[in-house]
Assembly symmetry: C2
Homo-oligomer: 134 residues x 2
DNA sequence: GTACGTAGTACCCAAAAGGATACTGTAAAA
DNA sequence: TTTTACAGTATCCTTTTGGGTACTACGTAC
């Protein structure tokens, strides 16, 4: 039973939530999808949007997304190489999901200016946006 | 930079998608939230819904959800012990997110009867539901 | 008197995820 | 002539995650 999460299904009988999360699982997949949702990007363009990712990790995550069929990879046989990543039609169907995730993040997750911690504010105690800019 | 994913924020500047995923990250959180969304459950009730989870893991995931403020834990000082887990008001705000995840899972992820693999069907090639019941 | 159900802990171990660093080849730019 | 950009690989290592097993306390049922 020590299988990678992505291969496990029978543990979550009939749970479509976990089924979906399986495809979003991976440290950079969320951000990658978020950016590609807004348009095709080349490898290094994407890399510049993710300051802390290493080449190895970015490649790995992209390959997994490609294997899932959510992202397409197009290689132009030129020198220097040109490789473009884009959402597939299937990937596009994730839009409402990404939207929902983004909306919740915007509404309930706050990052301190130092960028160290996530904070959740409950309904009433919603921190004013100004507090973030101080 | 080798920090647990949950503590990393500066790697994902302004990405609310990752911010949200941070809280859903963990092998059993998705299913747990899915079930608690439908009502309060005791520890062992939840355990029975997740055939493969171990006590240790269930406890761990619940504690993390509690720490995030998404789930509440109520202990009744009786013997044998009675502990109830429920969504907090904040946790409830995740409903549209869970809904979106569940909807996508229902529409695009297919599990073979053997429960071994996940399959994605693209728009047109949508497998008939009957195929699952054969 | 033994077993069962409740809700856990403690301890140890394997697997997976993620990260650091160095390396590739070509062409154009400096 | 050296450097830069491109899009990666390869190798090694650490951290994190998740799982296995055994153990606790208490009261009730058999």
């Amino acid at each position: 039973m020590s299988l990678p999460r992505a291969k496990l299904v029978k543990n979550f009988p009939g749970c479509p939530v976990e089924a979906t999360l399986t495809y979003l699982d991976g440290k950079w997949k969320g951000v990658i999808l978020f950016h590609l949702m807004q348009g095709t990007l080349r490898f290094n363009e994407l890399r510049r949007k993710l300051p802390a990712v290493t080449q190895r990790m970015l490649t790995k995550q992209l390959r997994e997304l490609e294997e899932s069929g959510l992202v397409s990879r197009t290689v132009y046989p030129v020198v220097p190489p040109r490789v473009e990543y884009a959402m597939t039609p299937l990937g596009m169907t994730l839009e409402p999901v990404i939207q929902a995730l983004a909306a919740w993040g915007d509404d309930y997750v706050f990052c301190s200016p130092e960028g160290r911690e996530l904070r959740l504010a409950s309904d009433g105690l919603r921190a004013p946006i100004a507090a973030l800019e101080a």
